[in-house]
Symmetry: D2
Subunit: 343 residues, 4 copies
Amino acid sequence: MIRVGVVGGTGYTGVELLRLLLCHPDVTVSVITSRSEAGRRLDDLFPSLLGTCELAFTDPAQADYSSCDVVFFATPHNVAMREVPTLLDQGIRVVDLSADFRLKDVGVWEQWYGETHRSPALCAEAVYGLPETHREAIRAARLVACPGCYPTAVQLGFLPLLEAGIIDTTQLIASCGSGVSGAGRQAKLGSLLTEAGESLAAYGVAGHRHLPEMEQGLSGMAAQPVQLTFVPHLVPMSRGIHATLFAQLNTKGADLQALFEKRFAHEPSVAVLPAGAFPATRNVRGANICQLAVAQPQGRDTVVVMSVIDNLVKGAAGQAVQAMNLMLDQPEMAGLEGIALAP
Amino acid sequence: MIRVGVVGGTGYTGVELLRLLLCHPDVTVSVITSRSEAGRRLDDLFPSLLGTCELAFTDPAQADYSSCDVVFFATPHNVAMREVPTLLDQGIRVVDLSADFRLKDVGVWEQWYGETHRSPALCAEAVYGLPETHREAIRAARLVACPGCYPTAVQLGFLPLLEAGIIDTTQLIASCGSGVSGAGRQAKLGSLLTEAGESLAAYGVAGHRHLPEMEQGLSGMAAQPVQLTFVPHLVPMSRGIHATLFAQLNTKGADLQALFEKRFAHEPSVAVLPAGAFPATRNVRGANICQLAVAQPQGRDTVVVMSVIDNLVKGAAGQAVQAMNLMLDQPEMAGLEGIALAP
Amino acid sequence: MIRVGVVGGTGYTGVELLRLLLCHPDVTVSVITSRSEAGRRLDDLFPSLLGTCELAFTDPAQADYSSCDVVFFATPHNVAMREVPTLLDQGIRVVDLSADFRLKDVGVWEQWYGETHRSPALCAEAVYGLPETHREAIRAARLVACPGCYPTAVQLGFLPLLEAGIIDTTQLIASCGSGVSGAGRQAKLGSLLTEAGESLAAYGVAGHRHLPEMEQGLSGMAAQPVQLTFVPHLVPMSRGIHATLFAQLNTKGADLQALFEKRFAHEPSVAVLPAGAFPATRNVRGANICQLAVAQPQGRDTVVVMSVIDNLVKGAAGQAVQAMNLMLDQPEMAGLEGIALAP
Amino acid sequence: MIRVGVVGGTGYTGVELLRLLLCHPDVTVSVITSRSEAGRRLDDLFPSLLGTCELAFTDPAQADYSSCDVVFFATPHNVAMREVPTLLDQGIRVVDLSADFRLKDVGVWEQWYGETHRSPALCAEAVYGLPETHREAIRAARLVACPGCYPTAVQLGFLPLLEAGIIDTTQLIASCGSGVSGAGRQAKLGSLLTEAGESLAAYGVAGHRHLPEMEQGLSGMAAQPVQLTFVPHLVPMSRGIHATLFAQLNTKGADLQALFEKRFAHEPSVAVLPAGAFPATRNVRGANICQLAVAQPQGRDTVVVMSVIDNLVKGAAGQAVQAMNLMLDQPEMAGLEGIALAP
């Protein structure tokens, strides 16, 4: 059995990670920490776990990870970068779901997050945890930086087009919608049902922290700098991200459907829909899958890609478990084969 | 491996049954039928199944169940009662999710469903598929009639009180709310998001078909006739049933919390919440569990029980799989240990 | 023109009051206060008001109500009881939407609210603002205490039965559901879309502050003490209250439909649905109306009443304006004739 | 008083038109027709109208519009084009909410709607009912073709940019989301709460009937042909359209905020938000207003416009009443000054 620790399990990413890990056939959750909830049983905070585990939250100051094979950080940014070095020194692998190690350029990170990075050297070592582009590196990694939710949906959607070099990389557009769980389990006015319900609104138009992460990843795929206009929207639902991507084709006659199907033919957590079908977030709710479709409306030069994930699964906890499976030589989709809950 | 057939898999109960059966460690789905969708792949109708099975719907006229150990009916009422006898004659066990065999009194059935029952003799043989009250009979059964969704939530909530004989059986009240999936996957005006969304309304107040089923079951628990006033409400959500039950205590000083905890201590799909906590449907979404709480407001004589289930799981497909496990000597919760999807 | 002041306009009751007052043909809003938002334009905080007014919030310490004919309190409890005496001394009428003056028994108030009442003498003077039972007293009042949202729906539903003396007053039951706006415009975990959405749950079962208010009002109607079991539920919608009421009839053969129609025949903000129809909260969204239905399932002794209101309109701001109209000799429904927004 | 007839009032556009017309200070609704609901009272079909009118639906075959000043068509396409000529011949003005007269090019109309147009000559005469671009023509019109919902939001958003000639007209992009009421009051699987709820999905990507209408209008503004890529999405809410528009600036340094504010400074049903604020559909729910914002992320060449309307009001019934007011020399916003219902 793989022994697992979880740092900061009181958010939605944390409880989702527990949902997956507690059902994983080869995992034992050994320790889970929370400063604010130390001593409280998990199933008291999250009644959905009632009957599934006897664990209680440990105070981070008392937590002992020495028996763990891997530790997950389900914390806000600014925690992992302080604590990861000690764990790595103990020979423990780390899967960080926060933003601390996603950006290779520490200066860019410091600019977007407004503080000094505490482990800049690890930014170079950390492997970006998108299996579709970094699988072999993940297998060998000590430290994996899990992609953000929007970046997962957006990068998988642009991937075949950028690798094929058939779109103009200077004016990519991503118009995305996210369920409210993307804002975390925090008491914020804008996340109230009365505010976010029965409404659609853009936010973060002037600049969202996922933008540099996406431009970094997309540039890597394109092997040249990419410029992306990214507009996220808050959608009146709990889970799900829908990315609608637009780009200008620089070539005629490409068979886009075949391009997408071929690129993802052997990817266990990506599915390309049949031509003419469009993805819906409801069809991936709770599942570790990205469903994709590509279209070329009116046969014009603007290509449209639609990409959906569950932000808490393929966009966070599921992809983290997928990385863990790779790192620890497990079947890549172990514990991740649950089918989406529809309706 | 248990070989399974499914009759009528195009509704929400059907796709939910497939979600559970396709992940069940000891089950192979051999055949699934639909008149209207014959020939169509399941994952075309239900994109949530993409990548999980290669099955297509078979025309019922061509379906061959001879290799099946068990056949599920996920049909509207009035189908199973016509087809079950042939299957039983072939030695195939049947789990019927429809209403055809739920009532022991054929006359009452015919009155509420407005037609002649085609297999009245089997009504006597059919075992009511509520494990908490009929476990041993289910193990031995050829034919199990799965309880309706409201009846599951309501009966489990009243069970300890009626068995203990501490409430007045002449004026039970059940004020229940159901998600819209309870109305089935049918194009009905009242189930539109624009009609059912952002609204709460009672329906079926004059008489709902689940009423005689509940009074039959509750009377069995009480060993005397029970009268229930049942008011269902349509709630703006997809899944979930919340039953709020009221009864008049005929005794003083009973420890209701202890009564409930003791009654369900060994039930794998029922959980009693700690005193003072109340259940929410979100905490059982997708899980085969009933969560319960009991209260006695202001210490008066009116006892209040709150009971929640996922109408498609413990209220339908999950409970059907639980019955199958019992009938075929599997671990009772095999394939049913998935944790609820919250948020 | 009636000159109006509003104390505390930053909550949902406040913005709803503004929506109604700004469109009222004979009202000018002169001053609106907020400690936290002093100096901020209303349409900056509430973009739904953009283009409808030029007002900004005034600091309560600077507010001058001397030109006002009437002042509304849209504050939490514990504010009005401190400030009302000064206003009354200036000859200004007050409509209090908070709970400060709803209970006649100051001791009961202090028990439920856990503090000392600052204006106990005014509790006796304050008129309970339910026009259907206190219309003439409201006309003559200096101080009106607007009913709570649940109490409005519940009291109107029981009113004809209690006045007619045909139900057992010792075991009334109210199973109610409220939209999330009932919890106010406050950043609370339980009101997040991710928590309250796609879920139904009871709360406050052990005792809700609206219970003594309801028992006071119902006892007044019955002219004898009434005992009510009240279970509120949080419903995944923004607006609306649905009350499902149960009582035991102590007489046979009453024409309940006729009783209800007659009682409310001349009430401008109550509508009894035709026999066989049931109310839905969507049909009163935004309107100052209570829609009612009564039923006697299976002809048994348990009567069921269904009562719906918009908690922010007939349950708060609308009923407050209705009281103001009566106090200032305006047409009772002036400014309140907007039709519900359905769908 | 203006005497009004309504053809086909059983859909959401119809009931919304009634909500507005019944509260309009200078309108009497004389006749309303429906084939399927002839003889039925409006408030029986739409309980939200209870207490507001005594009207019943008239069979179209018996309808007499001779006393009407204006007749609204709230019908699917293919009705108005058959019936309008007779009304115009009687001297009755017509406001058509359907698509029959929106396109000037009859060939394009026939291609997208798949049938022969019955009144091609009137396509030339009909005035496009967008007051912000056709106000004077509407005043003089006998027949107004009301814009579609998406076209209203999209055209108002692009209007200042196209008139100023500062964007590349060959690659406009509109990524839009609509509430489910946009699909009409029809029993369709895809509009069920269980299908459309808790999900986001694109549709009509290959070609939506609003595309030629938008390209016609945008080309008019640009005085040159415009190419638009239009991707609509179904959003889990009842009402509201959010259009997110993208275009490439062909000039540097334009003050976009000032451009928008100036263009709409005197428009009674358009509001430009302060710089840095973004519109939400909840803030226009029920109101006849379009709220707009413009941004230039990272100061790059891609301009982003956000435009929100209530699809049933400024996107349909409200804009139709606005046109009627202009045609009949009423104050343009008479009956349209209701404030949005938020939350």
